[in-house]
């Protein structure tokens, strides 16, 4: 069983602000039932002063998700929106006297719900973050910006830690390399004098493959990779077929269980990763239903 602090237990067994605020004028939803936790934050904001006069949460999730939600509402009540936006996931964790590392993502969820609610109040679409950054983890819908901010704010150094904080990489592992890249990028930023400048050199992403392959060599390499992944696809009742190669674009047809299924994105990401490694260059896998579609996308 998890070793939860007294504070986590207190706020789980006897949560404060577990309610939908009546006449709320700001709502923030994050998470989903398939991910295993979801949080709706409702706020009553004074239009004159922008002070949060009341805050309530509704949470589907584990003990620490409920406690984190409750902590968030306690922290932000009485603050102005601008003050509230300065609250970080670490503040939520600190309020709870810490969370087990595997549960840090609960505090991140709280911070995200707050940002969503403030954006909702201000009539903005809270998705700038998610538009800028490509989805890195397709399984849990976590994007690059969130991962980068979390890595920076918490001085994370490993994929495992990132998974604990954001869930990214917790399922199919296809994005582990992408997460490593982000960690490397953050670590490469000039460290401030105060920070211990202990920068581990980033591992080279892809072993450099011979540059300047001919088209035939590229196609052969692509087909070899497809042959390698095919048994796994067949296991799930699927298959992959090469339709067309055009510069960095590789058009493929996904068959059977792979095509259209929820995991198609994850599958593609995983195969694309292997292609990038083997080809030593960036390529993009594009699923199409027919050769015509590939041709029409050319123009």
């Amino acid at each position: 069983m998890w070793e939860y602090s007294e504070k986590v237990q207190e706020l789980f067994f006897d949560p404060k602000n577990a309610k939908a605020v009546e006449d709320a004028n700001a709502v923030g939803d994050v998470g989903s039932i398939s991910c295993g936790d979801a949080l709706r934050l409702t706020l009553k904001v004074n239009p004159q002063t922008e002070v949060i006069e009341d805050a309530g949460f509704q949470t589907f999730g584990c003990g620490s998700a409920i406690a984190s939600s409750s902590a968030l509402t306690e922290i932000i009540k009485g603050k102005t929106l601008d003050e509230a936006l300065k609250v970080t996931n670490q503040d939520i964790a600190d309020y709870l006297d810490g969370l087990p590392p595997e549960k840090m993502h609960c505090s991140v969820m709280g911070q995200e719900a707050l940002q969503a609610a403030v954006a909702n109040y201000r009539g903005e679409e809270w998705k700038d973050d998610h538009e800028e950054g490509a989805l890195v983890c397709k399984c849990f819908a976590v994007d690059a910006v969130l991962i980068e901010n979390t890595v920076r704010a918490n001085n994370l150094t490993s994929v495992e830690q990132v998974t604990h904080y954001t869930k990214a990489g917790g399922s199919c592992a296809a994005c582990h390399e992408g997460i490593e890249d982000i960690i490397a990028k953050v670590q490469a930023e000039a460290p401030t004098a105060a920070d211990a400048p202990e920068v581990t050199p980033a591992a080279p992403v892809a072993a450099a493959a011979p540059r300047g392959m001919t088209l035939v060599q590229r196609v052969q390499t692509i087909l070899t990779v497809f042959d390698e992944v095919r048994p796994q696809l067949k296991n799930d009742g699927g298959d992959i077929e090469l339709i067309e190669v055009q510069d960095e674009k590789i058009f493929v047809k996904l068959d059977g269980a792979c095509g259209g299924c929820q995991m198609a994105g994850a599958t593609l990401g995983w195969i694309q990763q292997r292609l990038v490694e083997k080809l030593g260059e960036f390529v993009r896998l594009i699923p199409v239903n027919s050769p015509e579609q590939a041709v029409s996308r050319r123009v």
Binding site: C62, E102, K127
Partner: protein
Amino acid sequence: MSVATIKPQSIYLDNNATTRVDPEVLNTMLPYFTELFGNPSSMHSFASGVGRAVAQAREQLRLLLGAAYDTEVIFTSCGTESDSTAILSAIKANPDRNEIITTVVEHPAVLALCDQLEKDGYTVHKLGVDSKGRLDLEQYASLLSPRVAVVSVMWANNETGTLFPVETMAKMARDAGVLFHTDAVQAVGKVPIDLKHSCIDMLSLSGHKLHAPKGIGVLYLRRGTRFRPLLRGGHQERGRRAGTENCAAIVGLGKAAELAMAHLTEENTRVKALRDHLEAGLLAAIPHAFVTGDPDNRLPNTANIAFEYVEGEAILMLLNRAGIAASSGSACTSGSLEPSHVMRAMDIPYTAAHGSIRFSLSRDNTKADIERVIEVMPGIIAKLREMSPYWKDGAPVEDPEQAFAPVYA
């Protein structure tokens, strides 16, 4: 959890995870830690009688399993070791065969090993299950071939208690000339087993699931089955499992086997009735809950119930505060982020898979235990549902995935 927080009136309903050592078992073991601590291979009085006690335990296990010979019983350190030994032995003894048949709902003791073997170049066929956790025997028949080194199929599922028709499947394997192993860790002591009249070649069991201590297991190996040991060294267990015998635990397991036989009828009558009462009571009192697995064909002690729109760990924490121990297939309890592979294999919707709770009983449980669970559970579920964004005014919100609309995801 520290010992101090376990309340005396605690109700233990997590017997598929592990069981309490029976006091009779403990008493049988104690002398082998004190006076009789000798090595059964030694030639002096400290060891005298130890070898005989181990032989008696072997005989007690033979009886429980309905095996033809006591030499078919090999003592190991746990269920996991027995599983590994059986599968690795079968593939080493059949170097010209490179396929394995198993199922998607096996315990990690089998699944993780098979995943590794797949990386080593073996082809692993994992039989799928339907929404009640049942296998398709036609699919199984179509996979049996001279390329298959071993079939490994669990007798009873640890999460749902669903039983697989292993005797039929073993016969089919025998007819196809393929070795058959079953992980019977959850079945032994709960369902009658008669190996001498079956075609099962190898069977794994684990002591701590039947009121013996942790760290002792058995691999049943049918006489004449080709075998390659996992651990090589001394001549213990006829060279099939080297390492000085864990004598006290072996003797304890022997006693536990004897007690399991004596209680088998009780397990299938009184314990089963308690389980059925628990299930009926909870389903009557709590809406939006259902039994997972195959209710018509499962262990007598296991009830796995999915409570929709709530999360398992939160339920367990509230149960624990009420002095009740159970477990969950929820992602959060395990530290992984996905609900259990068994729930996903049965295609249990996410709205329910995260809230699945396993109550597993034993002969230690009483009617009062069950009444208490039926009394507190409805309040726990109601409390959590009230907090859930998927629940409103005593019912799930319409189309929960739509009503709750995060900007991304």
